[in-house]
Symmetry: C2
Subunit: 341 residues, 2 copies
């Protein structure tokens, strides 16, 4: 998708270096971060320089391929297994990460070239899946519709196109006028920092709302459809996604507004029977009590916004039960209800 009119992917492997848009600096600075080793790529995933289900998957694949190149002995399964464990420890809730490391790990046992090929294939599949999700999802969007999205499951969260926002991009190509309300998505503000940034750069009319305002907008008849991404979808359709997704799904049900999950099939975890088995990542208090942004002198500054003596509780994800989900938009079409998954 576009940044200042120029096409970019969010992450790519070039001469063994994993290059990625530094999403921690957005929307304030547009900068490409370069991870020269698999361990640097691990740090980039962990510190959310790259983030979002699909981008994490691609990053994990690239990291595994980097490990194959760094492997001192090409047959050293021990080294590769250790690397795989390290990569998988970076973001334990992301299903795409595990799918990618497993695939590239297998090829890395053959050769590092095969590992790179597989990692590139994963990234390309992600782009294709995003585009197809957009095409299927766009069928749900009629001219003039207002979409609510939560967090960032736009192209920044994937290698390109994205999932939840991809239907909006495709609908724009089809000359439908679609308006997007983007939940700011506390605590990390992926909505107001990232979704708003990519919508702006791709000429989609939109407004940022505080997470608290979503139900009020639904009540006012200002939301026609909710589309979010997913970090992991259990076999019964229960879906782990950014904290707050569950609230939006409950409110959408209450106001009888369709609620869709958009995700590539790699996000479906057949080995996970239900949402109860999805591990939830608890993150640092600082994400709630402190905020980062640009101050009046143009510098990145971190400020304390909460009572410093109080503790916070900061779950990164929540699980939306399948019965609140109208349907799943995947690269293979739209499935309504868990029995069709």
């Amino acid at each position: 998708m576009k940044v200042n009119g120029k096409d970019y992917r969010t992450i790519w492997l070039e001469d063994g270096i994993c290059k990625m848009i530094n999403q921690n600096l957005l929307p304030h600075k547009f900068e490409i971060f370069e991870a020269k080793t698999y361990q640097e790529t691990c740090v980039a995933i962990k510190t959310m320089i790259t983030r979002g289900a699909g981008a994490i998957g691609a990053a994990a694949g690239f990291a595994m391929a980097q490990a194959a190149f760094e492997n001192p002995d090409n047959n050293a399964e021990t080294f590769l297994t250790k690397a795989k464990i390290e990569i998988e420890a970076t973001r334990p809730t992301a299903q795409d990460l595990f799918a990618a490391t497993a695939r590239v790990f297998e090829k890395s046992l053959i050769s590092s070239e095969e590992a790179v090929k597989e990692a590139q294939k994963i990234a390309n599949e992600n782009v294709d899946a995003g585009r197809k999700i957009g095409e299927f999802g766009a069928e749900l969007l009629r001219d003039g519709m207002r979409v609510l999205t939560h967090c960032n499951a736009g192209w920044l969260a994937f290698v390109d196109w994205g999932t939840a926002i991809s239907p909006v991009y495709v609908a724009k190509e089809q000359e439908k006028s679609i308006f997007v309300y983007s939940d700011e998505t506390r605590p990390r503000l992926q909505g107001s920092r990232l979704s708003a940034w990519e919508l702006y750069h791709n000429d989609i009319p939109h407004k940022i709302i505080p997470d608290n305002a979503a139900a009020a907008l639904m009540q006012d008849g200002k939301i026609d459809i909710v589309i979010t991404g997913a970090d992991r979808i259990a076999a019964n359709g229960d879906t782990a996604n950014k904290i707050g997704t569950l609230e939006k799904a409950i409110c959408a049900k209450y106001f009888d507004i369709p609620f869709y999950i958009a995700a590539p099939s790699s996000t479906f975890d057949k080995n996970c029977p239900s949402g109860k088995e999805i591990p939830i990542e608890y993150r640092s208090d600082d994400e709630v009590k402190m905020m980062e942004g640009i101050d009046s002198t143009g510098n990145l500054n971190k400020i304390t916004v909460a009572n410093p003596s109080s503790e916070a509780l900061n779950p990164g994800f929540d699980v939306t039960p399948a019965d609140l989900i109208t349907g799943y938009i995947t690269e293979n079409g739209i499935k309504n209800g868990v029995e069709n998954l």
Copy 2:
């Protein structure tokens, strides 16, 4: 209630000066703001130096009394009417404000001394009502319960005691151990700035959560009861309160958790048939796109946290329909359901 171990009210009138805790500086600095004229008090209400339904009511009463003193001619109804209109324009959603100005205006037509007496009476009634709300509300709280609250309807929002948090303070006197989860309450963070601050200073165990996390906590069985305040309650029981209250009420209903509104009877507006007639205040984009806090040098700093080229939508309040409300805790007892109001 206590600040650093010393008792305070949030707002009081002393020698014609309206003194108040400057809530815009909390939790970072504890400072008393002095408004010397009714117009300065208006500015203090508008800029939220004092905020919260009850404190606004007391402030409006004090402002009206200040106007009575400033009145160049004691009988000049024109001057007083103009002042009343100005005071009422500061925060159009707050029912307590209109109740207070009406009462003090009437007395100001008699004499400025009568006006002051009435304004003091309003403030004292507010303290008494808060205490009684606490006593009735504490009956709902069993030892070990976990309360979710939204925004700040603690003592800072009133003259003392508060409404939604008052039952927790009274339960503490009764030696019940109550844990409070405080929604941070974007965009203005009254939960993480104010509720957390007052809970900390009054030794109530608590944690701040992002607004997005409330449903996840309910799903995990970590919330036993939700109590929030109200800015205006319509004749049918529909309740306007801080944006996000509606989401919490819908989620509480979904998880079968009791959801109570705590408010003095002055918040009930018999002239307003339903929530549809309650005007909703839209506030500035900057509240969503910028954040204020203490930087690493210890200074108050304002930073931009969102994509600067995007617009925001920032409704200050939402309306929770009566059928989502388990009951209303008032100074006259707990009423379950609108038919008893």
